[in-house]
Symmetry: C2
Amino acid sequence: MSESLLNHIQRKTILNQEEQGKLLSKIESRTLKKKEHLLKEGDVCNFFCFIEKGCGRIYLINEKGNEQTLQFGIEDWWIVDYMSYSTENPSHFYIQAIENSDVLILHKNDLEQLLKEIPKLERYFRIVLQKSFAASQMRIKFLFTMSAEERYHHFNNSFPEFVQRVPQYMLASYLDFSAEFMSKIRAGKI
Amino acid sequence: MSESLLNHIQRKTILNQEEQGKLLSKIESRTLKKKEHLLKEGDVCNFFCFIEKGCGRIYLINEKGNEQTLQFGIEDWWIVDYMSYSTENPSHFYIQAIENSDVLILHKNDLEQLLKEIPKLERYFRIVLQKSFAASQMRIKFLFTMSAEERYHHFNNSFPEFVQRVPQYMLASYLDFSAEFMSKIRAGKI
C-alpha cells in the first residue's frame, strides 16, 4: 500500500525513512467504485488525489446538461482541481472514478504541513506540475490546430491502451467532438 | 534590476542574502524590442523567462500560416515552453515580446543547479506552476463551455487593462475566434 506513490516520488527525489513515515502517516487510502465521485460541483477540492490503481477523470456538466471531460488520470497521476484547492472556492468540476480504483488522498492541511516539514516534496510536486502544465500547453496546441479526426488519431496513436479503458463518449468530449462523430470515426466512415 | 523577481519570490518564500546573491548572479537581463523573438519554432527552449516590464506571448503558426496565441504574459509572469524545456526537443512555439519589454532569463543549466542549491526555489516554482496549471484548467473549461462572444466578454471583464495592451488579432486567436468576429463584437454588431 502506497508503494506506488513512494516509487513515483523516489524517481524524482530521495526521501529518507523518517520522511517516508511522516508522509505515509498522513495518507488516506480509499477504494472507489466505478462511477463513484470524489468531488462534485459546488464542493471545495481540499485534497490532492493520487491514483494507485484504476482510472479517473475531471469533468464538468455544461449548460445543456452534457458531461465534458477535461482530464483523465491513470496509475501514477495526480488528479486535483487546482483552482478550487488554491482559492478554497467551490469547484466547477466533478472528479470521478471510471474504473474501480484505489486512490491515495492527501488533505490540504496535511499536505501544506508536509511541504513545510519535507522540502523535498516541493521538488516532487514542482516536477509533477511542470509535466502537467507542459502537457496542457500541448493540449491547447492540439485543440487549436488539429481537426477532430486528427485529434482522435493522434490520441489513439499516443495512448492506445488508454483508449481501450475509457468509454468512448468520455473520450469524445475530452477531444471536444460529439459521440456521433466518434461512432463514425470508429466505424471507418470518416 | 531584478527587484520585481525578488519581490515575487519573497511573497511565496524567504530567501536570505546569500541565496538572493546566488540567484542574481545567474540571471541574464535582456531588453526586448516590440515584436522581437526570444524563441522560434525549431529552437530548444532551454530557459525560463520572467517578465519584469512589458508583455509577451507564446504563439504557434498553424498549417494555414496563421498565428495562434496560446498564452500571454505580463509583469511578474513566467513564460516558458515547458515541454521543450523538459524534453530538450525543438519547440513548436514562438515566444515574442508584444511591447518593448525587460525580461530576466534563467538558463536551464543554471536553473537546475540553483534548484539543487536553494531548495526554497522549488517551493517558489511549485506555487508558480500550480497557479499556472489552475488557470489552464479553467481556460479549457471556458473553451469548452462558453461561446466566442461569452469568452470575449468574460476576458474583457476579468482583465480590462490587459485587453487594452494587446493587439486585437492576437486576442482573437487566444480566444479561438477570427479577427473578423472580434471586429463585429467590438463594433457592437454581435
